[in-house]
Amino acid sequence: MRAAVTEQTLRKQAGSATTLNALMAAKSKAVGETRPSTESSLLSSSVILSDGEKYTLVPAGSILHLPATHRSHVVEKPQGDFTFWPNFLQRNATWLAAKEIPLTMAKGDAKAAQQVLHEVATERRVLVAVYKNGPITILEPKPGAADADKPASKPAAADSKPTTKR
């Protein structure tokens, strides 16, 4: 049996040990002028959908259709507890739906996009583009494609706001 350590004893022990910074300085090189980000890019590469109680993350550029009445569901910072997309979709089916899209549309094929956008023009719910049930980004059409074919410049509905990414 031993007595629990006291603050004084621990300060003495820790004081005689070398700090991580001192040890690393001796065994590695100093960082240059540019420091990389040490945070996960999850939030910065996502759109946050919230129902007030829970939120979920979908890829930036995956919101296919966003009626004006539901814009408040897209928030800048997480609100409440995180839940996964399938659960979030299920609990918010009254205002949220998944729209299966062809992979060609996700990759920026304007013709494929035109047909899908036409189908969802009158949709009143928020639509998230999915491929095999997984939310997916819709890339903007490749450079050189006709302007009329661009899904980003041709909203499916007057009050919708499809988000695209390149």
């Binding site: 049996m1 006291t6 603050e7 621990l10 690393m24 990389p36 980000s37 890829p59 997984g134």
Partner: protein
Amino acid sequence: MKIPRAILLASLAGLPPLWAQEAFVRQTDLEFGLVYDMPLASTGGSFIAPLPISESGAKFEMFARGTAWDSNIYLLDTKLIRAYTPLATLDLVSEDSYVRGDPASGNYVRRTRADRPFSLNIHVAGLVPGSANTAERAVYFSCKGSNYDLTTYSGLGQPAYLLSESDLENGDLTIGPLYHELTTATLTGGCGEQSYTFVRYAADGVPDTILAQPKIEIWPVATAAVANITVNQLFIDRIPAIVLTLLHLYPDSRTYAQVYRGTAVLGTTGTVVEASERRYGRHYNPDQAEEPTNVPQDVSISIEDLSKYAAADGTYTLEVITETPFFGRAPERLLNITFNVDRVISSRGQLSTAEKPNP
């Protein structure tokens, strides 16, 4: 390099139960920026990524929620699928064998106590020595600290601060023994985490990519205080109820109060006070069905019948002992207090008779 059209990914099967059985994998195409989220079934298992991989490669990141009471999202693993990828791993060595997450993934959590040193074994490979390209020549390494709330043991909203950073080259480094460097008011009250991040520098269209980010949680040294009794107090009647306040009991610990006759002598085995014992963690609760706690515990224990353990007159010592994974689970004394019992009230007196003379 010929890049495969599809890739087999490890899944949740290897995760210990402390991670919620839900996760998703985010695939990011490194050529076009296409992002695709793949929900993972709760049963886990390997699977084929549905999206083809472009010539520039792809980044796969696996995210999961914490436990039932922890709704944060954690990056569990990152895999870069491309022609050139550095490798960085860190083995955090603590006396406590506890681990949350998969150590093989590089994103896991270990823990220690504020007074116990730990060490780091770092392995870096796959870099190109002498390359003019920073991303090929070095991997960025940093250590950040973050303090937790001392009463809730939560790190929610707490800022992180930099403790160390450097560029690593190929090779193995053994660093330690290290004590925690959290900026808490006292060293024994160290409560928080130190995270170690390895980042591949951005290059060739690939953004800064976290290769590994293990953490070590640091929990305070437990403390014990007692009320309604003072050092060397004399009790001439029944001992009143005393109250023990135990703070920061380690999440893997057995703590109890004991009483023995005589003054305090470290190492004396006494009688364990009934109902004073507290057991936390799987080691001390092997048959417990529910998941053990992951954070320290604070408790208040009222001892009503201390007289039972001090029946005869004399000197006694009350101690609070804790056992943890540290020092080979040897007992450590958190508190000792000596008191006296003297229930016999002695007095000096004289009895005399006076015989009435006969008339």
